[in-house]
Structure formats: structure tokens, C-alpha cells
């Protein structure tokens, strides 16, 4: 297992790092995490990726995390000790469980799940993944994308750069211990989703979603919500879908579209959601809790590194204090790498696989 990081956005340096891992006989596969701030042209990036002889998978993220620091430029390469098998699903609409079955996960290991964070029907993909692999593996991953939350090509593989795609890579022999937490608290009673389509909320309690949402926020904050201030306020007032005995699943509203509210991740009609709000300390506490939960499941087993998938909205929300969250993950002597994601993927403990928002997922890898 080997981590190469450089803050430079230089493609040549990236190519050199790739070359080093390619040449490292102890490395079986390469996970690539690139910050979107590199602005690498797809046309320039693609040949480098295609030139890789070892299995290569990864994504372009809003930012990468390396040893307690967030970087919006550079490259972060994670060399896996064993050969890894991956499956590129492009586009997501064509996904079938039969495609997933092609991936051999008979041995113990970790399934890295990287997905275009702005792709539609991510919930359906999660269902299919869970239906296929169940709890035989541990899941760890997140949504790729850019800092500006616009659609870009963001999934990396030996085939090049893809969008509206997902990539599942099974790292055989790499055991992981997962901790998930977000720290958001409900500030509303349950609201019934009476009409929705994927991540688009259309009506809540039989009223336009925008009206219901804005009314609650008006009551809670005294602020009228409109298209202009929505991007500023909404990230601090996400939706939460209740689950029993565990963290709510947070859905991040990111845009108004008429009377509809667009969210990251699906919110099925018929479900009940709460409007959530987070306090900085709660979020920071959640980061610690996530690390502790991961550590708790690992027990005395010493990890070889710690992979963190932290939601970009948390970074935006915590802003300057985000580095405290990153610090909260840190464990002495354990290398940390990760990325800011548009949605996080994990199964919390031993239960259902989820696509989270505004959540931090910590995986201690053996």
C-alpha cells in the first residue's frame, strides 16, 4: 500500500507519480483522486489514464484530503497492494444486476464505490449494489464531481474519463472498518413527501415543496428564501430521512427549480423527511464520532491507513473551521487520505447501504 501526493496540478507530475506506482511491483492497482481545481482537460488526462497498465480507478472530486489537509489542486494516488478488479457502469441507466455480478467478490475485501455525484437515480444504483453484494463486503466511496457542482466528466478509469457513470472496484484482501456520522439535527416535524421524482421534491404534505420548505425556514430563521439566497441557506438546512436506531439519511437541497427543490440523492415519495439544521460543534463532534465508530469496529486491529469521504457541504458549512473536522479524523500514526465528495457511500455498520449527504464516512483500512 502506497500513497503518493503532490499539490501540483501538473499533468507531468501526475504522470510521473503514476509511473512510479506502475513500476512498483508491490502495487497491484491504483486509485486516483484528483481535485477538480486542476482543471485538467479530459483530452490531456485520458491518454495518461489509458496508458496505465495496472488497474486504475478513481475520480475527480471537489477537493482531496491528505494527512489532515484539504487540497483543491494536486493529485493523490493510492497504490493498492493487490490486483483489483473494477466494473465501469456507463451510463447508469443501463445498469443491471447482471453487470454487477461480473465482479468477483467471493473473498473478503472492500468495495470502493465511486459515482458521478450529480447523476440521476443514484438510489436505484444503491439498491442494486446492495441487492447484489449484500453485506458480504464493506462499502466505501462517494460522489465525484467538481467544486462548482456542475456536471463534468469525473469518473476515472483505464478507459479514460466518464460522466453519468459509476465505478465499483473490489480490493481483495483489504479489510475496512466503517464509521458514519453527520451531526445534523431535525428542526421540523416529519413532512410527508407526497410527490417526488428521484432527487426532485415536487410536493410535501400535498403542497409545493418550495412553499413548505421556505415556510419552515421562514419560521425558523425569519428569512424569506428565494433563488438568490437559497444556495447560501439551503446547505445549512438539509432534509433528513429517519432511520431506526441510527443516523438519519441526509439529503442536501442544492437548487430551486420553480416550485421544486433539487436534492443530491433520491427521496422517494411516501417517505417522511425532516428539515435539519446543524451546529458547527455538532458536526465536528460527528466527525470524531465517525472516526471512533470506525475505530470501534476495527478494535485492536491496527489500520494501515484511513480513507475519509467528507461531504463538500460540510466544508462549505464549516468553512474556516473545516480544518478542525479534518483534525478530528486524524489518528496518530495512521496515514489519512480522502476527498470532499458530493454524497458519501457506506453501509453504516452492518446494515443497509446508503448514499448519504452532508455526512462523513471514515474507513480504517487494514
Amino acid at each position: 500500500m502506497r500513497i503518493l501526493f503532490d499539490t501540483s496540478s501538473s499533468l507531468e507530475l501526475f504522470q510521473q507519480s503514476l509511473q512510479r506506482l506502475e513500476e512498483d511491483p508491490d502495487i497491484g492497482a491504483i486509485m486516483v483522486m484528483l481535485p477538480s481545481g486542476n482543471n485538467h482537460p479530459v483530452s490531456a488526462l485520458t491518454p495518461l489514464l489509458k496508458a496505465a497498465r495496472k488497474p486504475l480507478f478513481g475520480g475527480i472530486f471537489p477537493a482531496v484530503i491528505h494527512n489532515g489537509q484539504m487540497y483543491r489542486q494536486g493529485h493523490l494516488l493510492f497504490g493498492l497492494p493487490a490486483p483489483a478488479e473494477y466494473c465501469l457502469i456507463e451510463p447508469l441507466d443501463n445498469l443491471t444486476e447482471r453487470d454487477l455480478c461480473a465482479l468477483d467478490t467471493t473473498d473478503k475485501g472492500t468495495l470502493f464505490v465511486l459515482i458521478d455525484g450529480l447523476a440521476p437515480r443514484i438510489g436505484a444504483l444503491m439498491d442494486k449494489i446492495f441487492n447484489t453484494f449484500a453485506l458480504d463486503v464493506h462499502y466505501l466511496g462517494g460522489g465525484c464531481g467538481s467544486w462548482d457542482l456542475k456536471n463534468h466528466d469525473c469518473i476515472l478509469s483505464n478507459q479514460g474519463v466518464s460522466r453519468n457513470a459509476a465505478l465499483l472496484c473490489f480490493a481483495e484482501g483489504i479489510q475496512s472498518h466503517i464509521g458514519v456520522a453527520h451531526g445534523w439535527q431535525p428542526i421540523s416535524k416529519p413532512i410527508k413527501v407526497t410527490e417526488s421524482r428521484d432527487g426532485r421534491l415536487i410536493t410535501l404534505d400535498w403542497k409545493p415543496a418550495r412553499e413548505v420548505y421556505c415556510q419552515h425556514l421562514l419560521e425558523y430563521t425569519g428569512t424569506e428564501i428565494d433563488e438568490k439566497n437559497f444556495p447560501l441557506l439551503a446547505p445549512t438546512y438539509p432534509f433528513g430521512i429517519a432511520r431506526l436506531d441510527t443516523e438519519m439519511v441526509v439529503r442536501d437541497p442544492y437548487m430551486l427549480d420553480g416550485d421544486d427543490i433539487l436534492c443530491l440523492g433520491d427521496i422517494p415519495a411516501g417517505s417522511h423527511i425532516h428539515i435539519m439544521h446543524g451546529k458547527e460543534q455538532h458536526l465536528l463532534d460527528a466527525a470524531s464520532e465517525a472516526r471512533q465508530r470506525a475505530q470501534a469496529t476495527a478494535g485492536s486491529t491496527p489500520g494501515r491507513c484511513q480513507l475519509v469521504m467528507d461531504c463538500i457541504s460540510r466544508a462549505l458549512f464549516l468553512d474556516d473551521r473545516f480544518e478542525h473536522e479534518l483534525t478530528a479524523f486524524a489518528q496518530p500514526g495512521l496515514p489519512m487520505l480522502g476527498a470532499l465528495t458530493i454524497g458519501e457511500i457506506a453501509n453504516h455498520g452492518d446494515d443497509y447501504l446508503e448514499f448519504y449527504n452532508k455526512t462523513v464516512v471514515v474507513g480504517v483500512l487494514e
Partner: protein
Amino acid sequence: MNNDRLYELVILHELSMAIGSSLDQQDMLNACLPLMLRRLGGRAITLFEQHDNGDILEPAFHLPRHAQTDGQLQTARKLIKQKHPPWLVCRTGHYWSHAWQVPSFGVLVLLRGRQLEESMCHEIGQIAGKLGMALLGCHQYAQLQAVQTQLAREADLHRETLLAIGDAVITTDTEGRIQEANPAAEQLLGNPRKHLIGHPLHEILHLYSVYIGMDAAAIRNAEPIDISRNTDGTACLQRPDQSIITVQFNIQDITASSGELMGRVMVLRDISDLHALEQEVAWRATHDVLTGLPNRSLLSERLGWLLAQADRHEKLLAVALVDLDEFKPVNDHLGHAAGDKLLCAAAQRMQEALRASDTLARLGGDEFVIILDDLDNINHAEKIFDRLIEQLSQPFEIEGQEVRISASLGYTLYPLLEETDADTLLRHADKAMYQAKLAGRNCYRLFDVREQQQRLAMHQHGEVIMQALLNQEFHLHYQPKVDMRAGRILGFEGLARWHHPERGVLLPAHFLPWMQSKELASMLGCFAIGEACRQLVRWHQAGRDWTLSINIAPAHLLSPDFLEQLDAILERHPDLPPECLEFEILESAAISDIEAATRVIEACHRRGISVALDDFGVGYASLAYLKNLPVDRLKIDRSFVQDMLNDRGDRILIESMITLARLFGQTPIAEGVETPEQGVLLMRLGCDLAQGFGIARPMPAEQIDDWSAQWETPELWRLWCDTPWKLDDLPLLAAQHDHLHWIQQVLQVAEGESLTLPHDELADHHCCRLGKWYDSYGRQHYGHLPAFQALYPVHVAVHQAGSEIVRLTENGQMAQAKHQCARLLGLKDQVLHHLTELERQVAQHLAADSKLSDSLSPSKSKAS
């Protein structure tokens, strides 16, 4: 309420609301169970379906799809065993299994990392109950939907089927009003659908029996078929445009499973083309295509039927076979097309000559069969045949040319003497037709059933005789032939006898009639020749110079291989003196083919064999023929000899025949000589050779020596042979014969038979032949002789006794009559004695006169 409880209620509500989200069972499970798994934070969820028998469960839905469900199945089974509460939680390895009963369905099992609170389990149990009801609803809805789908499909199917069916299908309600009619029905009935629906079927559809035919006029007067009941069949259908088609139809009730009558369905199919084709095929199968007449098949059927009718009504029926004479030349010279036209024309004329009820059929070629039934008598049939033959003999005009033909017709009648059938009648008619051909054509002949029977018997007997010949059951018996004047045995005639193993020795009358075939005649002839040869060789070796004659049948004599067969036999007997062998051939055989017969006779002569013409006088042969026939001997037929003493005509004929034989240089020999008197008369007429029972009956070869040793010339012959007696003395010569015949007739009267003698010949001794001679020529020439005088009183007494016997018998005095018979027999002996004495004295007297005459006139020939 704390948040956890709130969340619980939210989740429960959410789950509760998900139930019933769909009416499809799988859709509902897809909506509910993943949500339940996700919201309840489970790692796996399975819904087991419980079978009707209770225990065995199968997963109806489970997540993840590929997860093992064995552990959950165990939990589900545990829950089934416990009656209350309707849920349970148990530890399964590292996880907790939660199970809830899903009423009417099975068990829901959730695998979870942490145990759910009891209250939550209870509330999820409520949801599971709701889920069960919803699934049941889904199931029932699915069933309902399936039924609806099936019904819709069936309706579609029925509609499409109805449209696709080529047959017309019409349904009616129970009142008979048309409810549905497919396009084929519209087309068939010639009515658009709008004119059909709602109208009573019986007003639209009129079916008539096909036996009425396709005639619109006939249909107008006919009663339509009743279509108000279940029926089927073939019928004529008249359409609105008055056209008539043939349909096959079937009408059936439509009955619900409850038995309620719902209406009726009628299916019609236009089979006009098929019907026409069937009729055409049927017609061709039973008719001659050229003439349109019935063919052999239909003839056979009709003849069988007519024979049965004839039996039933005891009527006469005639079956005739007609063959056109001189038809082949027409075919050959004018071509087959002309021949066909002639056949049609001839058939037409025959039809015209027959009655409407008669049957005319063509067998093929130029052969026709006629059946005349319901005849009064044979004349009735012959009148029709006369008319038919006459019409066919009239000239035909074929392709501009006059053609003349005639017809030969043979017919037979039914009933016959014996039981018969149609084929036999046709065969008889064919044979009769052949006879008509032989009779010169252009005529008709009736089959003679008796002749047929005789032929059959001939054939059957012939077979038996042939076998008998092969079995060597035939032998020759030998009848002597003598020279009466010389008192010498000349030889014998070999006569075939059948030593039948059961019936004994059979005379030729028992087998000759059945030996008409050449083959049998040849067999018997060869046998006789061979046997004769052997016998002659034996006699020759014994120093006998006797001749031996045998009869050769005409068929054998004239057969091409006769001489070859003869030579083969002669070759086997090199010691045979051929001059001793003689063939006797019938006069009729000789004249049937006189040239051939002459060739054979001459061939026999070349081999040293003589030939006699047998039964001479009965063949009515022309003298011109006879004079050229090179035979050696003429045998005067016995029929002339038998009555020669009484019948002057026979006597004259015999004398003529003897004269003829002398003229042609042939030796006459008389056969059938039974009395010495006949022999005397024959010698007086110039025939010295004779054979007959009066000399000897035919005898086996082994008796010949004894017979020849003891045979003596009758005294009468010796007495008269050299006496030149006059024929006026014939009554004396015949007196013994006459007297014995007279005595026999009288005695028969005494035995109860009627009298055949003329009364004057009975009572008056002057009226019998002897009496007349006695009173005239006898008294004049021999009245001085003592024997002549002695005869008179006895002759008178005989007549008196005879008259008395007759009288007594007529009076019923039988005892006295018998007594008189004894007296008569005594008188008979006296008469015979006196006659013998008288004959002797007359002969001496005549001999003396002759010597005196010879001495006075030396030129007078004895023979003359």
C-alpha cells in the same frame, strides 16, 4: 414525545403507507420490503410464503437477492410453531432475527444488527398484518384481473375466430332472432349485417332438401327444412338474388353450463362446388362418359335391384347383351372419333327402341346391355328386340358418310330354372349373343339353359371318364360277325365297355354321350386301337384269321394327329396283321368333311387297314358323296334290320342299300340281326354278313374261344341259304316270329294289360299275316304238302284260344283265362312244330323247283 419515538412513528407510518401502494403483489413487495429494510436498518429481509399445508415455506421476496435465507427460514418456522404473540425475536449468530406473521401469506423475517424494541416489534406486527391483507387483496385482485384478462382474451379470440372462420356462423337468441353473423354469413346469405341482426332467422334463411334439386321453380313449391330444432345436413339455399347454392349446415343449441338455453348457433358452409364435383365424380363412377349411359358398375347395381323386384312381384325380366356388328371397320376406316359418334348414335337409337323403364348400359367398346323388366312373356321381349335390331340396321350418317351396321343380341330370362345371379345372367346373355353371331348376325338368340346344363354335365362326366380311362377301367367286348351263308365266323367288332368299380360293366350309352370332346374321343380311340391290336396279335399267334373292327369317333378320325397316333400304336405291335384291323366310321363323320375323311381312309388303306361305314342309311348322305368315299364295307344300320320282317319300306331300303354297296364295290354287312328269320331275309336280299344279338352278344375276350367252339349256324339259315325262295313266302318265313309276337300280346292281356292287336287279327285266323298267306299264295303253291294241311286246325285253335282268353279276361274270369293261357302255350308249341315242318317241306319243294329250273335254263344266274 422524544425524537426516537417520533422517528419510529414516522417510519411506521411510512411503512404503513407503502402498503397498498400497488395492486400488484410484486410491485407492492418491491415498494414495501426494501423500504422496510432501509428504514429499519436491516441487513436482510425475507418474506416467506406459507403453503396451504402449513409448514413448508419458500421465500417470495428477499433482500439482498443473493443472500442466504436458511437462517431466516429457521426463524420463520419457529414463529409458525408459536401461536402467540404473532412475532418473535431471536439471535442468529451475530445478528437478530425478527419474524412477524403475515396473515394469509406467511412470515416476514428481518435480520438486523440490533434488536428491535418489543413495542416496535408489536407495531411492525400490525404492519405485517396489514401487509398480509394487502397481499391477499393483491392476490385476489390478480386473480380477478387474470379472469378479466382471460375473459377479454376469450372474447377477443371468439371475435377474431368468428371473423377468421370461412364458414358462415350465425347465432340467435332463444326467440330465434339473429344476434351475431360473421362476414362469411353476410356473404353467404347475400345480406349485409344490418339486415341480419335482430331479424328472425327463419325469415332470412330458407333451406330446402337437396333432393328437390337446384330448380328455383321446384323450390318455390317445396316446404323449407325446419331450422327451429337441432339438425344438420346438406341443403339448398336460395339467396335474395334467387341464386341457389348447396350448403352444409349444422344447427345446435347454445346451452349454459347451468343448462339454461342461451340461444342457438348455426354454421353454414357453401359446398356448391364440392357438391357439383361430388355429383360429377359420382356420375362418372356410374356412367359411360361417351354415351352417358350407365356403366358396368351402375348396371350391376340396377340389375341386382331389378332382380329383387322381379322376385318380389313375380315378373319376368330379360337381360340382353348387344354387340354391334361391323363396328371395328368403322373405327379402322373412319377413325375413332367417327367410331365414338357411331356409338353415341347407336345408343340413342337403342334408347328410342326401348321403353322408358328399360335400362340400357354400355359395358365398353361396342357392347351394350339391356334390361327389360316387368315383361308379360317372352314375346313381349322379342318384340322389343325386333324393333331394336331393325332400327340399328338402318343406315347412320356419320361425318357425312352413310354407315351401316347391325347388331347381334343374346338374351336370357329371369327367373331361370335354377337359382342364378346377375353375373350369371350376363354370362348367359354373352353366350347367347355369341350364338347370334354364329347364326349370321343381325339377329337375336335366347340362351338355352338346358344346353348349358348339358355342357356342364358333359364337362363333369368327361372328367370322370377321362380319369376312368387313365385308371384302365375301360375294356373291349367283342361281338362276332359271321357269314350266314357260309356259316363261318368272320371276325368281331370290338365294343368299349366301362368296368365301373361301383356300377359294374357299363354300356356305351353310359359314356359315349359325354365323350364329345376331341381329347376324350382321341383317348378312347387310342385305347380301342391299342387294345384291338393286342387282341389281333393274340389271335394271330393262336392261328385265328379273324378280323377285328373298332369304332372310331368322328372327332378322333378327323383330328390332325389321328394318323400320328395310329402309327405310334402300330409301331408298338409289329406282329399285327393290319389287314385284319378295320375301322368303323360314322356316315355322318365321313360327310362332315368328306375330303379329310377320304384322306384318312386312304391313309388307313395304305397301312393295310380297312374301313367300314357304320350306321349306314341313317346319315342321309348324298349318293354323290358316298360314291367317292373309299370305304371297304357298309354296315346297314340296325334300325332297318329290326323291322324288316314287318315293314316293307325297311325291307326295300335294305335291298337298295345292298344294291348300292354292290354297285360301289363294297361289301354290305347288317347289324342288329336278332332272329334267324332276319338272317334268312338278309341272305335272300343279298347280304350274307351279319352281326347282332341273334348271333351273339358282345363278350369278353376270354369267352370268345368257348363261344366260337360251340357256335353253330341256325338250321333256318342252312335250310334257306341255298333256296331261291320268293319274297311272297316271307309270311311263312316270318310266321314263327309273328306267332310268338301274337302269343305274347294275348298273354299280356291276361296279365291285365290292354289289347293292342286289331280285333280281327285276334279272332279271325284268316286275317293275320300267316292266315292271309295260307289262304292265298301258300294254298296255291304248297297246298299239297302234308305239313301245310296239318297246320290249319292248330292255327284255327290258336285264334279261338286267344279270343277266349281276351273274352274271359274282359269278363273278369281270370282263373278261366289263366287256364286258357296254359292251353294256348301248348297250342303255340304245336304251331311252331308245324311251321318248322312246313318251312322244311316248302324249302325242299323250292329247292327241287330251282334245280329243275336251272337245268331248263342254264344261263340263269344263281345270284340274281
